[in-house]
Symmetry: C2
Subunit: 582 residues, 2 copies
């Protein structure tokens, strides 16, 4: 037995409560090394020797590891447990103290008590929804009266400092478009007063940028969105402000005498605002964005109030938090408490591009932008440098690195205002469509970057921030139809968010899996492929994409065209979906 | 290469900041599998391809794993890094995305920003100190005027419900004894009003039990202790209260109409107080101890105020928290914030008998009672069911399961009011003395259970709670002298707390290691043993225990008597120690 690979710790993401009386435990072992694992468990105060036991399920594998999981039911909410590992040759017991050859009487792993206050509660409304990210200057110009000076003509290629006049009224005007697409959440990049088109350099956190509109426009947008059952998320830029933020201006003007001098990290007075600044900024020397010292209680209180204010004022449904990984955990704990006190089901998403467990323990964020997931998607669909098996391994490893409560809310994205667009990265429009099928049929919360659904192209910033072409004649309407079908499928099957994913086939460039009762086949190759089906429920089914009917028998396979996908739903479920959707 | 054993995650305890500009990273690999590891790192915003690199130190091994560690210096406080693993046969790169055969350009591990607010700050005063645990009813009776009714004669064997009249005045009277022993912290089991001798069933959190004295007596004790540079820690019992606590009485009296009904988990009204109670209690049905619902904001506020009150009122230096693992993390986060706001260097110790990482991330406790460490000590010294190598493996595994900031404060103990005494468990007094030498020469914060230093015996509760015999004629004075020497050695060498431990020899029953500059040999066998010395600095040295002088040459060994220990300090350091102590 490869004991050094066996891993469990009574801590996230290997042990955590799912509800008041159930503990999920996960044990990692070297792939194909163990033939079975049982968990022996009992109440922590009960006499020893009376353990209950469960056979653990080999839930997933990632190329290196098998993941064995179990749900332990506990009436008293207190659990002690040990594992019995079985290979073809031996039996070993695994405890907190290490490995034992015979059944131990001590050293049990302990989950001391399932505390109600520690159970992770994600907003219930996120399940089944799809998010739509909007860069407001480029989505739609609903009010030409507030256009900034020097606006370019809608449709010309953007430069880094271009303005186009898109605004809140423009978004409100297009809510029916989004509603028809099935969108359940809008996330807008920043809208507060700022001199730039992207507005990540805030001047006034309490005011809407006049080029985007007014508070009234925001309230109208939220109100109209809510009327269509669309939630609205704002972008909170709390890591840094703009150089003209009042507190920074005060420090520039008054130097060491400014009462705001400790709001920033000034290396030397007087402050020099320009190239090679003498104060800490976002990234290295971005002088227009002075870093805010969130460990300073005054700064903290200021930003926390901003967080509360827009919920109270405009009834927004949550925050996407910019550069969230460079702000202290203590700040985010306080942020969560304050935000949830104002709106208990507000959704809090951090911008973290990497492994995010440290922010997803239930005390900080509900979700993060799932960029590592995007990297795996790009490797498979765009770069072609991993095969379906490698893709599956990466996905499994990512999923198992977080606890199940986090799975439904993970913000899966093919691109954003910070990346080239998926269609450009894939080159072949058939591949980018497959990536979209994958995103929209996988667990988590898919995020559509505005215009991806009609096939907009774009290299890196600023090219990925082109204006949305409202002339439908230039749209890829087949693609838009595909997005709509799948977004609406999720809405009717919210269980698709949860993470009940089973890999059915992963060879070459063909990837097939089930998500709950739905069976998805993706042929990411230029060949016609026959995919054997094992463990897919029999019965009459329909491919949502092609409309084709299938009658699955016991032993069977499915034929797929080059660069095509099938999303197959059993007709017995289809009825429910159509009914719910009508 | 055994890749499935290679483990790192940019999270505690494998990556965390030590100070503002340094990141410690730890990588686990299968023992003896890798010949070397380098970490390649750079600023997260710097262009790729310009990484700095460090050779990682194989800091420790635990039988299954080697632990490679490095300290990465970062001026910008933002680090990205990857590992280059080398075995005799191959070179593999390890990234957040997995393993690569050639140097990767992406997928770096990220430690996004060392936030000042997240740096763990243990109280600086804990280094070098030794704690002394007192069960107040049994330590010394300083005021016979407040003895409870039915007090037994000092010295007779205690029963579960015996009272002996020990009190706060008694402890104050014996401060010179403790000071002479070198003690730096007193921790008393609960002293608030309660009907029992142990007082874990609190009636009034704001009042001292009259049998122990008054608030004035507590203030006097703290004041006199502080005058001797001794800190005072109280026992906070916040998981449950006593059945006569005012809020529970109100619920018993008024039933569902009580405004305190949600302070408890009452299964059914009316409340039945007795065997098989109909409310949730500590453990299973301990009806005298109703569990407090700490998720209830009123309960929370009440207990947090208690925590603050005794610091403000009596200037205590911290809390030991009873059954801390069954109270929600959210409560402890708030507790830490409130307590540290009143006294920034208060010390917070949780009673957690098992793996405690979930409480030791810097947002909850400074320390825990290190019972898993005690289990390893018992296995080696008392039960004899592991050899020195197995002992060393257990210790290493425990140490490496936490981050270095936690190491100096970990409360290492040979026993407590909840366990049989070490002398009884070891049987042989020579072995229990060796266990004491080990505790007092290892890193962490040793806790002496009152009377262990003079050789008191005792089986489990209530026998482990005997009265302290103040007649010196019954003391084991040699043992007391040993404790005193080593406690004072720590006081003069506070670096002994930190965890700079190097195993020098671990075979059979002989264990030798260095702690900073001090070399310790423990012969836990009935044989005279010769221990080869490798990697011990040469020079004139003195065994603190025997007073014997050593002149270490390049190649040498040390002879040890059966069941004996040597604690060898180089004379060049000895001067400093004697000087400091004088």
């Amino acid at each position: 037995m490869n004991l050094a690979c066996v891993c469990h710790r009574a801590a996230m993401p290997m042990a955590w409560p799912i509800g008041e009386n159930e503990l999920r435990v996960v044990l990692k072992a070297c792939k194909d090394d163990l033939s079975g694992v049982n968990v022996y468990y009992g109440d922590r105060y009960a006499p020893l020797g009376k353990d209950d036991r469960l056979r653990m399920d080999k839930e997933a594998s990632d190329g290196l590891f098998d993941y064995f999981t179990a749900r332990i039911h506990t009436e008293t909410r207190r659990v002690r447990y040990i594992f019995r590992l079985r290979s073809d040759k031996e039996i070993v017991w695994y405890t907190e103290e290490g490995f034992k050859n015979s059944r131990p009487r001590s050293g049990y792993f302990q989950y001391p008590y399932i505390c109600l206050a520690d159970i992770i509660k994600e907003p219930s409304w996120i399940r089944g929804r799809t998010m739509y990210q909007i860069f407001p200057d480029r989505f739609h110009n609903g009010n030409t009266g507030n256009d900034p000076k020097g606006c370019l003509k809608w449709g010309v290629p953007p430069k880094a400092d271009s303005f186009f006049g898109g605004d809140l009224k423009g978004i409100t005007d297009k809510l029916d478009y989004l509603s028809h697409l099935g969108i359940g959440i809008i996330y807008m990049t920043p809208i507060f007063r700022s001199p730039s088109n992207h507005k990540y350099d805030t001047i006034d956190y309490y005011d809407i940028d006049p080029a985007f509109g007014s508070k009234k426009d925001l309230k109208m947008l939220v109100c109209e969105a809510h009327a269509r059952d669309i939630k609205v998320i704002l972008d909170g830029v709390f890591n840094h402000c703009g150089k003209d933020f009042f507190a920074f201006r005060d420090v520039v003007d008054k130097g060491e005498k400014s009462k705001y001098k400790d709001w920033f990290n000034i290396y030397k007075f007087p402050v020099y605002v320009g190239e090679n600044p003498n104060y800490e900024t976002f990234a290295n020397g971005i002088w227009t964005m002075p870093k805010l010292m969130t460990q300073n209680p005054e700064v903290r209180e200021y930003l926390l109030d901003v967080g509360e204010y827009w919920i109270r004022e405009a009834d927004i449904d949550g925050w996407r938090l910019d550069v969230a990984n460079e702000i202290d955990h203590a700040f985010w704990r306080e942020f969560r408490k304050r935000i949830k006190a104002v709106k208990s089901d507000a959704f809090i998403i951090g911008e973290v591009w990497h492994d995010s467990l440290e922010w997803l323990r239930g005390d900080q964020f509900d979700s993060v932008m799932n960029y590592p997931w995007r990297e795996a998607v790009l490797d498979f669909f765009a770069r072609g440098n991993i095969d379906a098996e490698g893709f599956d391994n990466r996905l499994t490893r990512l999923r198992m690195s977080y606890h199940t409560d986090i799975w439904p809310g993970l913000l899966n994205l093919l691109g954003s205002h910070d990346t080239p667009r998926i269609k450009t990265l894939c080159g072949d429009a058939r591949k980018s469509a497959l990536a979209a099928v994958f995103m929209l049929t996988y667990h988590g919360l898919p995020m559509v970057y505005y215009g991806d659904e009609i096939g907009i192209k774009g290299k890196g910033d600023p090219d990925c921030r082109r204006t949305f072409p409202w002339d439908e004649r230039v749209w890829d309407n087949e693609l838009r139809g595909l997005y709509e079908k799948l977004i609406k499928l999720r809405r009717t099957c919210p269980e698709m968010s949860d993470g009940n994913i089973k890999t059915k086939y992963a060879k070459g460039n063909v990837y097939a899996y089930t998500n709950s009762d739905i069976f998805i086949v993706i042929n990411n190759s230029g060949e016609r492929m026959s995919v054997p089906l094992v463990g897919v429920e029999v019965g009459l089914s329909t491919d949502i994409i092609s409309g084709r009917k299938y009658m699955f028998e016991e032993k069977r396979s499915i034929e797929t065209e080059p660069y095509s996908a099938a999303v197959i739903v059993q007709d017995k479920h289809l009825g429910r979906m159509i009914h719910q959707h009508a």
